[in-house]
Symmetry: C2
Subunit: 448 residues, 2 copies
């Protein structure tokens, strides 16, 4: 049987970043990827006019230093997301143009949102991102859902509705599905709520020329035939002598394994001996969010002419988060938008044509009749991908951090865990994925 130093399960950003570090340190490494491509939750797409679009994770921004540095190292380039002009907010049948952090909401609601955000940010400062379960008021914060906290902390109906749309935009899950402690952890992990929400100066600031999947593809080129595609890992056996990783079609022996797949998929591998119950429970309790992503191509970015930046938030519509995703040269117009959380779950029962109609009619409402004639609409339903089963990432419901947090990334003998969900910094983001892979590699290298 083939024997290497380390087998990495999963050829997304985390797994490839781990492999890259290990190879740089002289280790013999194999990456087993279940699909016929690398990149995991990043994936390249192309509109009918040849313009590349991102079907998965697509933005990078300030303080995401690790992924930004990696992009540069790999010879890739970034360019700023389009962010000139006014954004649109739709609420109760009214559309409002705005260029402010108040989202164009009535003054009283804007003030209430500022108060609530302030409270959240203040509480977030108390959270330990390294070990959220040790946070001073961890029990009390983790006992509540984000929705429960909102209900207890504001009577402003519009403010509640606003957050109940904002939460799926960040987590592709609904506010009751999230522990309030997890929400606060996530804010701090990604710097602040403002950073998470912003384009310029925030998490949506920049894009990668050609698409973010190129980060993984470049790493895979470097790794060469160490990366094996269409290798579906089913069983990981370990004993005192080493590990055997069994995949459909073969097996490889090694010293150590990095499992770099979403937690819910990590639980689908059989481990012999079985994992400790706390670690197994993590895989039972970190479900993935739900999102269908759309890229809608137009002959030109016509909204810019009217001074709009293409950004929409709607409290009235299922298709309720839109951004300008046109190519850097503006040679055509592209709007990117999402069905998230509940809206994604409901709309999987529609036909592709019905979903297209839903999306295009929302864009006509937002931007006027020119939006009715896209030259192409492409969609990506991440929940239907067997080897993803949901995006943007895994979330923790009430009570999970405080009862199972410690087991999330602690190695189990020869098995090390990576993936965006295991990162303390930029958890759930591409930057966090790369960090997690490097952390796992470092655990192995430190061990010797």
């Amino acid at each position: 049987m083939n024997r290497v130093d380390v087998v990495v399960v999963g050829g997304g950003l985390a797994g490839l970043a781990a492999a890259r570090e290990l190879v740089a340190a002289g280790k013999d490494v194999v990456v087993l990827e279940a699909r016929n491509r690398v990149g995991g939750r990043t994936m390249g797409g192309v509109l009918s006019n040849g313009v590349p679009v991102e079907m998965g994770g697509q933005w990078v921004g300030p303080t995401q230093d690790v992924v930004l540095e990696l992009i540069e190292e790999l010879g890739l380039e970034t360019f700023p997301s389009y962010d000139d002009g006014d954004a649109l907010m739709f609420v109760d049948g009214q559309g409002v143009r705005h260029a402010s952090p108040t989202f164009g909401l009535p003054e009283r609601t804007a003030a209430e949102l500022a108060r609530l955000s302030g409270l959240m940010e203040e509480l977030a400062t108390t959270v330990s991102v390294e070990s959220p379960w040790t946070t001073k008021e961890a029990e009390e914060l983790d006992r509540q859902t984000l929705d429960g906290w909102l209900t207890s902390n504001t009577d402003n109906d519009l403010a509640r509705r606003f957050f109940r749309v904002l939460v799926p935009a960040l987590f592709s899950a609904e506010a009751p599905e999230l522990s309030f402690l997890h929400f606060l952890f996530y804010l701090k992990s990604g710097t602040s709520l403002e950073t998470l929400l912003n384009t310029t100066g925030g998490a949506q600031e920049s894009r990668v020329v050609g698409g973010t999947h190129r980060i993984s593809e470049q790493m895979a080129v470097e790794l060469g035939d160490r990366v094996r595609l269409e290798a579906v890992v089913r069983t990981i056996r370990q004993d005192v002598d080493g590990v055997t990783v069994e995949f459909e079609g073969g097996e490889i022996a090694c010293e150590r394994v990095v499992v770099a797949v979403p937690q819910t998929l990590a639980g689908r591998i059989r481990y012999v001996p079985p994992l400790p119950s706390a670690r197994d429970a993590v895989t039972q309790q970190m479900p993935a969010g739900s999102v269908i992503k759309f890229q809608v191509g137009y002959a030109r970015p016509f909204w810019r002419i009217e001074g709009l930046n293409g950004s929409v938030l709607s409290l009235d519509d299922a298709f309720n988060v839109v951004l300008d995703n046109s190519p850097e040269d503006g040679s055509c117009g592209v709007l990117v938008g999402f069905l998230e959380g509940r809206h994604a779950r409901v709309s999987v029962d529609l036909s592709p044509e019905e979903r297209r109609e839903l999306v295009v009619s929302a864009l006509v409402k937002f931007f006027g009749p020119e939006a009715a004639q896209p030259f192409d609409v492409v969609e990506q339903d991440w929940n239907n991908e067997e080897f993803t089963r949901g995006c943007y990432g895994g979330r923790l419901g009430a009570g999970v951090w405080t009862q199972y947090g410690e087991a999330l990334s602690a190695p189990v003998d020869r098995i090390h865990w990576a993936g965006a969900e295991t990162s303390t910094i930029w958890n759930g983001y591409m930057d966090g994925a790369v960090r997690s892979g490097r952390r796992a590699a470092s655990e192995i290298l430190t061990h010797g």
Copy 2:
């Protein structure tokens, strides 16, 4: 390749009940069970003096008509759980003897508990057990956790603490981990909160002579070599012609499959083609509870002499739910008790000796010095069982019923779902397991 009409995955009560119905209707059936025993979450144990004890599900009671009838059909017998005398309640360092539904709590707290229970029962009447997501106020009820509802509905600290102990006793999970809609569904599914909690007249009323695992063993005897042990199912492939079930060591072709394992384990099987995303999401969002069960044997049931029925509820201790589990003839004394939810999760890190000490010292506190000298203590940690991964059953957190409920038991082409968690009546109980198996069998027989 071997070909049968139906393959049943899982040899617990649900799977065996399904197989029994199908065989009775003339179908050719194979049951594939991963372990080297049938019975699933029921399991026989024995104390060092030869007295049999139940290591898993153990009680049956009124309105559990289906399992009671099955027990009789199989030639097994039941006997009443011991329930004569006073129960004990421990709170804030005080022990109180009581023989009342007020649990010996202060009058004001007892009145508040009665008010809260009344509210819960009233709300439970509005729930549709067939389709909880169609319940009139489903959205609002499912948005809240049980803990959130308690926090909003009472300021009585002791009443909150009481429910926060009672909930793990029923679900082996903590109050924030449960949707309030799920809790109400569960009450109605099992008749009422009072029924769930009571011994005489309730869910703990009777035991099976020799242990409840005998129900499965008797069914397995009837099924003969149709039941194959140590067959770990890994992949279910279906197409227009039929299904192939691949297990470690072989494969079987069939017309239809019944998957009768806990939801969290159902998700660990690979399905080709992949399951629809909603069905997959169910398996991501129905984590199992946490419980370590203890059977403690004494020379005699000494507590009875003092007029105690052996029942304890403690708000102060980790080992906080105890019942008399002596053999019918009282030839020795047995106390059964549990570490549930958080307490189970914390105490897996202790050594077996430390857990034994924790349990015995709690029993000495409850019942006096004679409790210090058990002749045997046996424990069963269900979360460490690879082919269970938690008991008593799977639970639904906030938002799951309303977003995914429909996918819980709807067949996916040739695949039918069974297991206690898929039952509308006595969900999570042995009776529900048998009902679910019969329902799956009936789906197949109706189909032809």
